[in-house]
């Protein structure tokens, strides 16, 4: 018995060492993707993966990217972070040290993007997060200066929170608002605080500022408190899997005020999970499928023919991230991490399917417009644009 155990342990250790040796495939460009394929927001991960695979397939179908005098194909290595922050970190580690990728795309949710961004920064590998809007992702947590290796394809929350606050005050004419947000998640907390600051600065009054923790299902206590405060509108900067529960419980408690949200509402799953309860509400996001320009319409048509659903904002932003990487690789001319990073930092302006992105010197955050969508007849419809 003991011999078999010792033998088994030795075998496992050997297998690990053998498996650890990675083959260096110099004829391909390796790009890593970290997505939330399982966990609490799998719809986001699925969209990201689909868009990534489509982008890579397009490039490879054209023969690859021209680096120097040869064309190189892209190999996409997908890691699942299972909706956990530490798995994001270890997935980033694995992609950098074992798979030796030249750049990483993802993760999407800010609470998972932050740890991966730290690892990328210290590992000196460029990372583009398609969907994370929290400003901390591209800032050094200790010094506050911009990180050198982390970029994003979307706008940041200081801009988005301001957009929602101004829309609530000016268009919806509501002076008293309440907020219910997840205190355990970077994105929710950040944008809630920015909303509060901008709202109060411009004459509004926050009558209730309630919190819950991720994975909580029962909000009756916080919603009852909100009901006591009698707001005119309630801001729910939360993810698509939590918002339906919150809205339904609020209605059960007799709350009649309307709700407004931010870009984490943007998945089709929200409509499936919410049903008719979400009819007539607004939220801010990155792009509108039904008010698209030429390039965007082509992207939507391709995506629809491949996956038979309309792409959401995560998919569009992932596609744009890969577009940015493609341009950077072409400019850099070689399959080298530092060169790719420098080329990325040097892009001043990029026209993607989510609009025009303008990058400022020294910062990985693009300046972009936002759109306000309205949920009408069970679908996302474009309502307004908000320029920076």
């Amino acid at each position: 018995m003991k011999k078999t155990i010792v033998g088994m342990v030795l075998l496992i250790v050997c297998a690990l060492f053998a498996g650890g040796c990675s083959k260096d495939d110099a004829s391909q460009i390796k790009i890593g993707l970290i997505a939330e394929l399982t966990g609490d927001i799998p719809a986001v991960g699925a969209s990201c993966k689909n868009a990534a695979e489509m982008a890579v397939a397009e490039v490879n179908a054209a023969g690859g990217i021209q680096l120097g005098d040869k064309k190189f194909k892209i190999k996409l290595i997908i890691e699942d972070n299972a909706g956990k922050a530490d798995q994001s970190a270890s997935a980033a580690q694995k992609l950098i040290t074992q798979n030796k990728v030249v750049a990483i795309v993802g993760p999407n949710a800010s609470r998972y993007a932050l740890p991966a961004a730290e690892i990328a920064e210290s590992g000196k590998v460029a990372l583009i997060t398609p969907w994370s809007t929290a400003p901390k992702a591209t800032l050094n947590s200790r010094t506050g200066a911009s990180k050198k290796y982390v970029f994003r394809a979307c706008f940041i929350d200081p801009f988005q929170g301001g957009v929602v606050a101004k829309f609530t005050l000016d268009n919806l004419k509501s002076r008293k608002a309440a907020v219910l947000y997840d205190v355990a998640s970077e994105y929710n907390k950040g944008i809630a605080e920015i909303f509060k600051a901008v709202y109060e600065q411009n004459g509004g009054k926050i009558v209730a500022f309630e919190t819950y923790t991720t994975n909580d299902k029962d909000f009756s206590s916080q919603l009852t408190k909100i009901r006591q405060a009698a707001p005119e509108i309630i801001f729910l900067p939360n993810y698509y899997s939590e918002v339906p529960l919150q809205i339904q419980q609020a209605k059960r408690l007799g709350i009649t005020a309307p709700f407004i949200g931010a870009d984490a509402w943007g998945s089709e799953e929200l409509l499936k999970l919410c049903g008719s309860d979400c009819e007539g509400y607004y939220f801010s996001t990155h792009y509108a499928a039904d008010a698209a320009g030429e390039t965007t319409r082509k992207f939507i048509a391709d995506y629809r023919s491949r996956y038979s659903t309309t792409p959401d904002d995560v998919a569009a932003l992932t596609y744009d991230s890969f577009g940015l990487l493609k341009q950077a690789l072409a400019t850099a001319g070689k399959n080298d991490r530092q060169a790719v990073r420098d080329a990325l930092a040097g892009i001043p302006r990029y026209d993607g399917v989510t609009g025009i992105m303008q990058f400022r010197e020294g910062s990985g955050d693009p300046v972009k417009s936002a759109v306000i969508l309205k949920i009408r007849d069970g679908k996302f419809t474009w309502f307004a644009n908000a320029k920076p």
Binding site: L37, T38, D40, P42, A43, V183, E210, T211, Y212, T213, N215, K217, D218, S220, S221, Q222, T224, K225, R227, Q228, S241, E242, P244, L245, Q248, Q249, K251, R252, L253, G254, E269, K272, L273, G275
Partner: protein, 291 residues
Amino acid sequence: MAYFFQQLLNALQLGSIYALIALGYTMVYGILTMINFAHGDLFMVGAFFCFLLAVYLKLSFVPTLLLSMLGVACLGVIIERLAYKPLRTAPRVSAIITALGVGLFLENFTLALSPYPKHIPPLLKNVTWTVGELSISSLQVLVIVLSLGLMLILDFVVWRTKAGMAMRAISWDKTIVPLMGVSVNKIISLTFAIGTGLGGAAGVLYSLAYPVIDPYMGIMVGWKAFICAVVGGIGNVRGAMIGGFILGAVEILVAAFFPSTYRDFVAFTLLLVLLILKPYGILGRPQPQKV
């Protein structure tokens, strides 16, 4: 004042669900002195059965509830036969670890089959009555009434029927009972069936109240219900009910009167203090130890 009563109603609803799950823990513990850590995940399986029945077979509320309970009860008995029976003579902790393993297996198996959170369509029309400043929804009332009903039925079964008497006898002395003509295996399976069936019912009620279900929903709820069962005195059916309502009340009322982020902290500290004051739980019997 109305605010307090509203929160009290919320507490009753949450508490009834915790109590139903805690009952499952307590029943199994009372008979086998084994903590079935897979119970929280059986609760989750109940919610998923409810989803399958409601969405694919389009059944209405009562058949869904009954069939889910039956389904989870059968699953519970199968698990007991396969995984727990061989460990009846082994040290208690091994059975607990096996239970942990079964729980993990159920979670991840469900995750592998269905990674997306699922939505359960409303099975009953929800009416909200407004009494003064109070909003009472028919769903809340249903959950509370149904849970209390099931608990009363269980109380009746355990204290007034022959099978219940056999269960209580086994919890006193397992070796003597077979000599009295009682089939221990059958009674144990029955206990598991009832306990897990209640867990399944809790799953259905929970998914009615919070219609978005995912494979990991059972973990926290399961551990919290375990705490309820212990606080009430593990092995004691009435204690589990009390424990469930206490935790529900503490969670809701703490969030009502303090900032909501302190909820977990205050709730668990209160429970800890309660346990220190009453080390065997509220209704628990001190176990005499012979040297």
